[in-house]
């Protein structure tokens, strides 16, 4: 089975690693600016699919299907993002005789609509956050939306029907601010997803984001895994994930797993997928949405269960039966934490910091896994998401995992660009994080309180040390430069001497 990977960056590298371990040949696709990218160099074959803009390369269904045909690939792995949750892409692969390593186009389409997914959850007997069951398109008048909002109750959240990743999402505290929130959510949703429909959902107070990973095979087996906790979010984007959650007991885990399987059954789900829930402070949980793909944070589940999710996706696509022990999947062994390392400057409000990577030394040592996507000499492009690596650690207990993460972050060197590593080092010292006392609003509140104070705080002694190091470095470069210049002069003198010798001879 030859597999084309319709993605880039760390996830493409992750999938290539799984394929190589299974002895399967791989085909990378790449855009203009990604010619030198790591996934291209590590794959067995590579096909250029277009210019740097994602819309003209990684999002082009025709170009990717053509690339798969040209390369003689049998299957396509979509990774996450780009076309991973695009039902038309899954269908185009199927129509071209390619195995799509993921769920059916029907399951993708149904779960891609937030309102249809909510209805599926309700049919499965799984609680959903109270809200509207029908999409509200642009023809619904403001007065009607106001009336519906009163029925849902405040505070509420306005969400894009086609949404995801926090886009097209607005929190509303009262009726007065509803109109503006609906308008901005519609406009964001329109530009991000091409669909301005929204729906309303009651806002859960102090919610934790807990999700259940699933694997389904093509024979009707659906296997739930121990939960992931993803409540550390900045502006609705996950930045740190862990497994297990400190808020989940074995009994709650069992009930959430049962609920997740029930939702997945309504669409006869196969391959890897994730059911996301909100858990309120009283321990009640509500279905949020289903992601019909591999998640960014899948490694934390792999670390606590020792089950390779990407290899299983491939096995299931090959028609193998899922014969993993269900107790092993649902019983977390130890504790795992993941930090998403972005090319962003945390000291400038997390501004993207694309550019040339001059040096790279990922963390290593006991219990450390680096899912990286870049290498030295690569320029992080401005065209895509700026995540450059996922740093994952495993340890016997949560406390040890936090300490190990702090140690690994301190070791991790990325030179030439700014990254979010200093921010994570700071986060690993926050008392609420250490105690596991946080919800999805925690990080934004904490960052607002800091009011832009920098994360890379040096002690007076460290500042002095840094000044010394920079000065010694400058001194060495200048003297090395002079030595090099002298070397050139010497060569010149040798040549002159040789010429004189020749003339004399």
């Amino acid at each position: 089975m030859k597999i084309l990977i319709a993605n880039r960056g760390e996830i493409a590298v992750r999938i290539i690693r799984a394929c190589r371990e299974m002895g399967l040949p791989t085909v990378a696709v790449y855009s203009e600016c990604d010619r030198g990218a790591r996934h291209v160099r590590e794959a067995d074959q590579a096909v250029h699919i277009g210019p740097s803009e994602a819309a003209r390369s990684y999002l082009r269904i025709d170009a990717i299907v053509d690339a798969a045909r040209d390369a003689g690939a049998d299957a396509v792995h979509p990774g996450y993002g780009f076309l991973a949750e695009n039902a038309a892409f899954a269908r185009a692969c199927r129509d071209a005789g390619l195995t799509f390593i993921g769920p059916s186009p029907e399951a993708i389409a149904l779960m891609g609509s937030k309102t249809a997914a909510r209805q599926a959850a309700i049919r499965a007997g799984v609680p959903v956050v109270p809200g509207t069951e029908q999409p509200l398109d642009e023809r619904v008048p403001d007065a009607e939306i106001l009336r519906i909002a009163d029925a849902v109750g405040y505070p509420l959240v306005v969400k894009a029907v086609a949404g995801g990743g926090g886009k097209g999402m607005r929190t509303v505290d009262d009726a007065a601010s509803l109109g503006a929130a609906v308008r901005t959510a519609r406009s964001e949703a329109g530009s991000a997803f091409g669909d301005t429909s929204i729906y309303l959902e009651r806002r859960i107070v102090e919610p934790r984001h807990i999700e259940i990973q699933l694997l389904g095979d093509t024979y009707g087996t659906i296997l739930p895994f121990a939960e992931r906790e993803c409540s550390i979010q900045r502006r609705h984007q996950k930045v740190v994930e862990e497994s297990p959650s400190m808020a989940v007991t074995p009994d709650l885990r069992r009930r959430m797993a049962d609920a997740a399987v029930a939702v997945a059954r309504t669409v006869e789900y196969s391959s890897a997928g994730t059911i996301e829930f909100l858990l309120d402070r009283d321990g009640a949980f509500y279905f949020l949405e289903m992601n019909t793909r591999l998640q960014v944070e899948h490694p934390v589940t792999e670390m606590v269960t020792s089950i390779d999710l990407v290899q299983w996706q491939i096995r299931i696509a090959r028609g193998e039966r899922l014969n993993v022990d269900s107790g092993r999947a649902l019983t977390p062994h130890g504790h795992a934490i993941e930090c998403r390392i972005y090319a962003e400057d945390p000291d400038q409000g997390f501004l993207p910091s694309p550019g040339l990577i001059r040096g790279l030394r990922p963390a290593a040592g006991p219990g450390v896994r680096d899912d990286g996507g870049v290498s030295v000499g690569y320029t992080v492009p401005v065209f895509y998401d700026s995540m450059i690596a996922k740093l994952v650690v495993w340890a016997a207990s949560r406390r040890e995992a936090v300490d190990r993460m702090a140690r690994a972050l301190r070791e991790y060197q990325v030179l030439g660009i700014r990254t979010t590593i200093p921010f994570f080092l700071w986060l690993m010292r926050q008392p609420e994080y250490l105690d596991g006392r946080y919800d999805t609003t925690y990080l934004d509140r904490l960052l607002a309180e800091r009011a832009g104070r920098t994360f890379s705080d040096l002690t007076a002694e460290e500042e002095e040390l840094t000044a010394m190091a920079v000065a010694v470095d400058a001194y060495l470069r200048l003297s090395e430069g002079q030595a090099a210049a002298r070397q050139v002069d010497l060569q010149g003198l040798w040549k002159q001497a040789a010429r004189r010798e020749a003339l004399r001879g």
């Binding site: 993207p352 040096g359 998401d385 060197q413 500042e463 002095e464 840094t466 190091a469 010694v472």
Partner: protein, 173 residues
């Protein structure tokens, strides 16, 4: 050799003298240190500092961006700070060219993107690090902040405009 070293805008006078192979006498704002320094890779420097046993620190010093700005990014135990060598001298040289730009700071687009919102108008008073423009780039909305406290002299863009990297968005005086 004497350098002006600025770290996150705070400047220090540092002189370096080689006393033996790999040994240096470094004086930072009058405070002397004896340092053992060796290269660790292309951008790394391993330092052993005065004391018994010597304390061991590793610092990474690499040019930022294409290197043209002269700014260095310094890594120290997982944290990153910006540093420049002889910045003070450079700034003086710049001031000769046009004294009327002294104290004026420009907020520029760090990458190509689209202006989503303009948060200030000409004449507005701003504090340091206050958000002035929101630019969408790399799939995220990014708030660009004022580098200093002052007054908005000029707003060169409007919401919806596409901007190139380096484009001046707002001028603060």
């Amino acid at each position: 050799m004497t350098f002006e070293i600025a770290i996150d805008d705070r400047s220090r006078t540092v002189s370096v003298e080689r006393t033996a192979a790999g040994r240096f006498r470094v004086i930072v704002d009058g405070r002397p240190h004896d340092v053992d320094a060796v290269r660790a890779g292309v951008f790394g420097l391993s330092l052993l500092l005065d004391g018994h046993p010597a304390s061991s620190r590793e610092i990474q010093i690499a040019p930022s961006g294409d290197g043209g700005s002269g700014q260095l990014l310094v890594g120290i135990d997982g944290r990153t700070v910006a540093a420049t060598v002889n910045a003070r001298r450079k700034r003086r040289a710049g001031a000769h060219g046009g004294a009327d730009t002294d104290g004026e700071q420009k907020v520029v687009a760090p990458m190509p993107g689209r202006v989503v919102r303009v948060l200030v108008a000409p004449g507005d008073a701003v504090v340091a690090r206050q958000g002035v423009v929101v630019v969408e780039a790399m799939k995220m909305e990014n708030e660009l902040r004022s580098p200093k406290a002052g007054r908005v002299k000029d707003v060169a863009v409007t919401a919806g405009m596409s901007v190139e990297a380096g484009r001046v968005l707002v001028v603060i005086e």
